[in-house]
């Protein structure tokens, strides 16, 4: 996805000399084209993220369109107050791009597991969050954040995911995309982990259980009305994210559902409130943390299907309410 994003961004940069890319000493290979072909629009701010973020705000306040790049937690947690005070509060035209999120850098260790970034930024006003879930939405994200003034955070996975969005003509990054239509049960997901949701749906479809899958690129702000309409069609919604359960995407969906009259049950799947002291590749860490396809399948079978009468096409509400 990160490649798809930066290929698109490069095209934009070639046409707009006022667009500036600042990196925190990262982006070897990925940003080479910017560095070599557009040196006037490329700045390496060194390993100094706090300064980098405030400089970005300064540049933006003077009319530049600024893209800030780093990996994992560095462009968010390392300079959080700079984001809040200098970027968001000033409504600065700064786009923060993090590549390598969730467990993308699994073996590099805890410092490189970006698993709280959504939660902290969810709490800050004036900043939008986009978490593309395939190459296409990554590309659209590049265009969208460029075109729309203001502060954005774009969370990019290292995974290359073939286009999942089917109806590209009508695709609106602000709205969830229906990837698979389902019955009664749906998974809402964001970012690369949507692949696990899709695989789960494929496995369960063989058992004649039709799980819907919806991909969310923009997760802040979120189109509440649209979500309420989707959830009307389902009894149980699972949210799936490569991020902590606390304060993340699932929490956001929960809030929306709790504010509506809809009685859909919502179950959040994400990372527990604890650090991993061990490492591993992404698949391994997803498995151990019970967010991979097998775990999602288990959740669905245990929680949803067991309590669901497929003949009557009705949930056993009594059982469900015990969850």
């Amino acid at each position: 996805m990160r490649e798809a994003f930066f290929v698109e961004l490069f095209k934009i940069f070639k046409k707009d000399k006022n667009a500036i890319l600042i990196t925190g000493d990262l982006g070897y290979r990925l940003l080479d084209k910017f560095r070599k072909e557009l040196p006037k629009q490329f700045i390496n701010a060194g390993i100094a993220e706090q300064n980098m973020m405030s400089v970005a705000a300064g540049l933006a306040l003077e009319g530049k369109k600024v893209f800030v790049y780093s990996i994992a937690n560095f462009p968010v947690l390392r300079c959080l107050e700079q984001i809040r005070n200098d970027v968001a509060y000033h409504n600065a035209n700064v786009k923060i791009i993090s590549a390598g999120v969730g467990f993308d850098y699994g073996t590099l260790g805890y410092s490189h597991h970006a698993t709280e970034d959504i939660a902290v930024l969810m709490a800050i006003p004036n900043i939008s969050i986009i978490s593309p879930f395939d190459n296409y939405t990554a590309k659209i994200a590049a265009r969208y954040v460029y075109k729309n003034k203001g502060s954005f955070y774009v969370r990019l996975s290292k995974d290359k995911i073939n286009d999942l969005v089917k109806d590209k003509k009508n695709y609106d990054i602000k709205k969830p995309a229906e990837i698979i239509k389902g019955e009664k049960i749906a998974i809402f997901s964001t970012g690369a982990i949507i692949q696990e949701a899709i695989k789960t749906a494929e496995i369960l479809s063989k058992k004649n259980i039709k799980i819907g899958v919806y991909g969310f690129a923009m997760i802040k702000p979120i189109d509440k009305e649209y979500i309420r309409q989707i959830i009307k069609r389902y009894d149980i919604i699972f949210t799936l994210e490569e991020h902590r359960i606390n304060g993340g995407f699932g929490s956001k969906i929960c809030n929306i559902i709790s504010e509506s009259n809809n009685k859909s049950k919502i179950i959040k799947i994400g990372l527990d409130d604890k650090f991993n002291f061990f490492i591993g590749d992404k698949q391994y860490l997803m498995k151990i943390n019970k967010v991979d396809k097998m775990a999602v399948k288990k959740y669905i079978l245990k929680i949803a299907v067991k309590n669901y009468d497929f003949q009557e096409k009705k949930c056993n509400k009594k059982l469900l309410n015990k969850l």
Partner: protein, 268 residues
Amino acid sequence: MSSQKLAWNIRRKALEIIHNTRSSHIASVFSVADIVAVLYADILKFNNKNPKWEKRDRLILSKGHAGLAVYIALCESGFFSEKVLNSYCKNGSYLQGHISNKNVPGVEVSSGSLGHGICIASGMALAAKMDNKKHRIFTITGDGECDEGSVWETALFANHYELNNLTVIVDHNKMQSLDFCENTLKLGNLCKKWEAFGWKVFEVNGHDHAELKKILKKQDKKKPTCIIAHTIKGKGVSFMENNILWHYRDPQDEYYLKAKEELEKEKL
């Protein structure tokens, strides 16, 4: 084990492990190998049977991406087995790609985000002062890491609190992650900068064991110490030296064989 032998072991084993696990930062490990080796062989007081021994000296690797160098030194110093070492970067291992202290005996502090470890070291040095303890605190930072403001915040702090039990070693290989420091953020004369912050500063060849040993023993009466260690990123394998590619790349095929051949020639 002599520091020379330990340094060679660090490089040789790091090559093998990084090759096998396809992990990164080999050049950063090679850069710091001699410093880490001299510390463990000749300077640090520790007890491998009792890693939490109160009177031990503390080593905090602030440039956590070179954690493998410390892991190997710890293994060679009897803190854990070769088997544990070889789990580095594998699924389920506690030996994380950036140094981590969780379930790893001998590692004081976890790092990985640059510009943290050195500040934790100041805190530990201050605690030792408060409790009138005599152990020393050593911390190793990268020169690129010196871009971080927090490094200079702690430079002010340690001077103010007269943390003469603290020694910072800057692995000054003149390179960082995309380019040379000179082409990223000019560091200027690092010695003068640290001096201006009130530190006792020494300049050494970071691959000269005798020199390192001599300087690392020094401790000022009042001032914290900063050792600017001139090093070569990738030191020990000709094609890795001063080549940014080896910040990332893992040696495979002919690169692996060539690196192995070069190191084997230097075997003690």
